[in-house]
Assembly symmetry: C2
DNA sequence: CGGAAAGTTTAGCATTGGCTAAACCTATTG
DNA sequence: CAATAGGTTTAGCCAATGCTAAACTTTCCG
């Protein structure tokens, strides 16, 4: 019971960053799945569980389990033994991810990061950039072009 | 028309990025804890579990459990009811994290990202930047100064 | 010194995200 | 049109991270 007496001092603010990171993590996986599903639908007309599994480097069963969660979250729909669809919410998330991804990857390339590395790094970074940082990156890109 | 045959094409490579992200995640938490412990030791001479908990915005018990893992991983040492110390390995990891952190945060600031945002974003980004990207950031900073 | 306050650890639980093996559908094809 | 090959789902396991409540130490003060 004691340590509960902690008052919200300035460390409250300190911990904000970490708290955001933990929050990001929960959505991060969802975003990766959703973005990939969108890509598959655009590329091949449909997203099948096993394609998702292969591209993500994950077992089939893991995808099934995750799809259940994403369905509960209202991001995808799926009938048993059928392919996966995105809801409106899902598409919104996918588009947003793509937008961020494009900016970050383009930015890294403009910075002089090798292509392969830019692709990999942007995949990890995209979930941790705020709008303010995205704006700064976009500004940099715009200036570069002129 | 499901069960279309799929060959193990370039998607193998595709999955590499995601696989790295998942790998990063396991170390990420450890890095955050270790870096924070280093900061506490430098700041106040010792790192106590409850300080770590408070700054990370996490319950005391969570820190205890994590310390056990970090101890098994050879990153920290701790006697029951005593404060936490870093091993050589632990210091190395902390230093490396600080180095990355400094570059990323400095870079964001140079890009024009507001201070508060730069601090928060860099916390999340630092675990996902490769050495190549760090070099590019450092190069940018050096050029900026001239 | 002894006891209460303050801090730490243990116990027990929940969720996420991953895996393998086995059971289960579906579509092709003989 | 039924057998079977080959995807898909279920079952059951594991580790990591987080939480609360209760038990346990340590510290500090009268």
């Amino acid at each position: 019971m004691p340590q509960r007496t902690r008052k919200p001092g300035p460390s409250k603010i300190r911990s904000a960053a970490f708290q955001r990171i933990r929050a990001d993590h929960s959505s991060e996986l969802a975003e990766d799945y959703v973005e990939l599903i969108a890509d598959l639908i655009d590329e091949k007309g449909e997203a099948r569980g096993s394609d998702v599994a292969m591209r993500l480097g994950v077992a089939n069963a893991t995808v099934v389990k995750t799809m259940k969660r994403l369905q509960d979250a209202g991001l995808v729909t799926q009938e048993p033994y059928r392919s996966i669809f995105l809801t409106g919410e899902g598409w919104k998330m996918a588009e947003d991810g793509r937008r961020k991804h494009k900016i970050v990857e383009g930015f890294l390339l403009a910075l002089g990061v090798p292509e392969e590395t830019a692709r990999i790094d942007s995949e990890g970074i995209e979930h941790h950039v705020s709008e303010a940082t995205l704006r700064a990156m976009a500004r940099f890109l715009a200036r570069k072009v002129m």
